[in-house]
């Protein structure tokens, strides 16, 4: 008994015919491989390009962020001298008094600043409790603004920020340019204010503002000299980079924490600081957005080109395979007639041609996938894996399309083979 495997099957005939007419099969295979290779190569190239773009943009993002941060910091440092721009004042404080006389008379508990620091406030930074009093310096007869400060109170829920104003050490006095000039004081000199002895820690350069006529001492000493233990005149702060109506937001937030207090914003120079920092950040963001836009435009152009090129190649391959198979059918017309005479059914004749199409589709897709993938990776200057889930998807797509292309292109020639009249051919012969 001979096993069934010994009996030649349709696939055996297909295989032997392929071996006999290698050129026909090779050309069809090459067509499929070219179509698949172009598709896979294009997809790989686009993928590699997308990855390279991602990397470049990530690097650019870091670079822009770094440059932006540098610019922002530079602006911050440049505008730092403009000082605090938010002042929180006690209830009932006459603003005319502050603007016209440079002095404050209403007081509020120092504890307010700690309450703010403990709160979850987000609209302001750099809390600075101060006392501020215009007085005539009894020991010198000079009118000055006495400014008591204890340094900034860190806001608990935030990362500590670099203070805008350094603490004035106990027993030390910092004086403005005008005061230094009029009293002939230098750093290290001793002087008495309201009966208390101070050492000059720093003499500011000329600022052209009220600071030139101001003396700074520690908050606790100022409170003691002015009889304001645990009381302050104001809390100075710096607004955050808030979008929209900033002052409205700040007032609303502070009113929820310190009811009854007044919040005022200092004039354009201080506002300009925040604006400048925002502008610096915006410029950096815009530069990055432009880069992303350019890259996306380039990618869209490439995808549009691929969307036209790939179908054209596939249509060309399909027509070429159709002609090759038609040639194959014409070459085998007597063979088809003989096979029909022997008893081959239509489905078996169809199998002979479509089976061959499946074979060159399968082998062509493998070849095209490998060549296209490698070429795409090389041209894309970025290795794209030929294994893994992504590659499996690409391979499945390539295989499915290649088999569909091969069968579709061979379908009409195969049908012509089936419909061929064997009697006509055998009579001619």
């Amino acid at each position: 008994m001979v096993s069934r495997s010994d009996v030649m099957k349709i696939w055996g005939m297909i295989w032997r015919e392929i071996a006999f007419r290698k050129l026909n099969f090779g050309l069809a295979l090459l067509s499929v491989a070219t179509a698949v290779g172009c598709l896979v190569g294009t997809l790989t190239l686009l993928k590699a390009d997308a990855r390279r773009t991602e990397r470049l943009l990530a690097a650019k993002e870091v670079e822009v962020a770094k440059a932006g941060a540098g610019l922002e910091d530079a602006v911050r440092r440049i505008t730092k001298g403009l000082g605090f721009n938010i002042i929180i004042l006690p209830k009932g404080q006459d603003l005319n008094e502050m603007h016209l006389e440079g002095s404050l008379s209403k007081q509020m508990p120092e504890e307010y600043v700690h309450r703010l620091a403990k709160s979850k406030i987000v609209t302001i930074n750099h809390l600075l409790p101060t006392v501020m009093k215009k007085l005539t310096w009894p020991e010198t007869g000079l009118s000055v603004i006495l400014y008591g400060t204890r340094g900034e109170i860190p806001i608990r829920h935030r990362d500590p920020k670099k203070p805008l104003l350094e603490t004035v050490p106990e027993g030390t006095m910092i004086i403005g340019h005008q005061v230094g000039q009029k009293l002939g004081l230098q750093v290290g000199a001793d002087i008495v204010l309201l009966g208390q002895k101070f050492s000059i820690g720093k003499v500011h350069g000329e600022r052209g503002t009220i600071d030139d006529s101001t003396v700074w001492i520690s908050l606790s000493k100022a409170q003691e000299l002015l009889g304001m233990q645990n009381l302050i005149h104001a809390i100075q702060a710096l607004e955050c980079h808030c979008a929209g109506d900033r002052l409205f937001q700040i007032r609303a937030e502070i009113a929820g924490i310190l009811p009854g207090t007044q919040v005022i914003e200092r004039g354009p120079p201080a506002l300009a600081r925040a604006e400048a920092r925002s502008q610096a950040k915006q410029s950096a963001d815009d530069a990055l957005a432009r880069e992303v836009g350019n890259r996306n435009q380039l990618r869209d152009q490439r995808e549009a080109f691929a969307a036209v090129l790939a179908p054209l190649i596939w249509i060309g391959a399909s027509v070429w395979i159709g002609f090759l198979m038609l040639g194959n059918v014409r070459e085998r017309r007597v063979e088809i007639g003989v096979l029909r005479a022997i008893g081959f059914r239509s489905s078996q004749i169809l199998q002979l041609f479509l089976g061959k199409a499946l074979l060159f589709g399968l082998v062509g897709s493998l070849l095209g996938f490998a060549v296209g993938g490698c070429a795409g990776s090389l041209l894309g200057e970025s290795p794209v894996a030929l294994s893994g889930p992504d590659a499996l998807v690409r391979f499945s797509l390539a295989l499915g399309l290649a088999l569909a292309l091969s069968v579709f292109a061979s379908w009409i020639p195969a049908l012509l083979a089936v419909r061929q009249d064997p009697a006509l051919v055998l009579q001619e012969e």
Partner: protein
């Protein structure tokens, strides 16, 4: 004896190259019994091949009926006719029509692909031996001599143990020795119980036939 091939009142006309209607067969009736070797002789263009193709179910007649082993071919669809042919009819052509990409063995086994039994290889081996092709079994058909080709074609026609062999000028391209071998093969097939219908224009090819009919003017006599 039983009528293996029964042809009744067969008529077939076709258009000639000049566009004229030619009556190739006009009311032919004949029968070939099992175990009988019948030769139909006629000049070229007398309709011999047409008769053979109709007898094998490859061409539909305009009129008349053909039955093989009692089965009416006219009532069968093309697919049904193909299946029937695979198991019951063998063809031998003047031009051999072997598949050039197959070896002798695989050419002989081709009918098994259309529908044969599991012993195709064994049977093919016996036929190859019977026709003296043992040493050529693995040779491609394209490299065979004409005599070997026709013997291979004859072995192919006999693989599925058909009831009827239809031979169209099988010795037309052969030398005398090979013609004798092929005709002997046909005669032996008939002696083993098969029916053979051979068409030829060559008188010498009819020598081994049990009966010789003359086809002329679309009719047999």
């Amino acid at each position: 004896m039983t009528a293996m091939l029964q042809i009744s009142q067969l008529a077939k006309a076709h258009d000639s190259a000049s566009g004229q209607r030619v009556q190739a067969l006009a009311g032919i009736s004949l029968s070939v019994e099992a175990g009988e070797f019948v030769a139909v002789r006629g000049p070229s263009g007398s309709g011999k091949t047409t008769l053979l193709l109709i007898a094998g179910g490859l061409l539909a007649p305009d009129e008349g009926a053909v039955s093989i082993g009692g089965c009416d071919l006219g009532s069968m669809s093309a697919e049904c006719s193909a299946r029937f042919r695979a198991g019951n009819v063998g063809f031998v052509f003047q031009q051999f029509h072997l598949l050039p990409y197959l070896s002798v063995l695989h050419n002989v086994m081709t009918p098994a692909v259309a529908g044969g039994s599991g012993d195709a290889r064994e049977r093919a081996g016996k036929l190859i031996a019977q026709f003296g092709l043992e040493n050529r079994a693995d040779h491609p058909a394209a490299r065979l001599s004409t005599g070997e080709r026709q013997r291979t074609a004859l072995a192919r026609a006999m693989l599925n143990r058909p009831k009827l062999l239809l031979a169209d000028e099988p010795t037309g391209n052969l030398d005398a020795d090979n013609a004798v071998r092929v005709l002997d093969g046909l005669r032996d097939f008939a002696r083993d119980g098969g029916a053979v219908l051979l068409v030829t224009h060559d008188d010498s090819a009819t020598a081994r036939a049990d009966r010789v009919l003359l086809l002329e003017g679309g009719a047999v006599g």
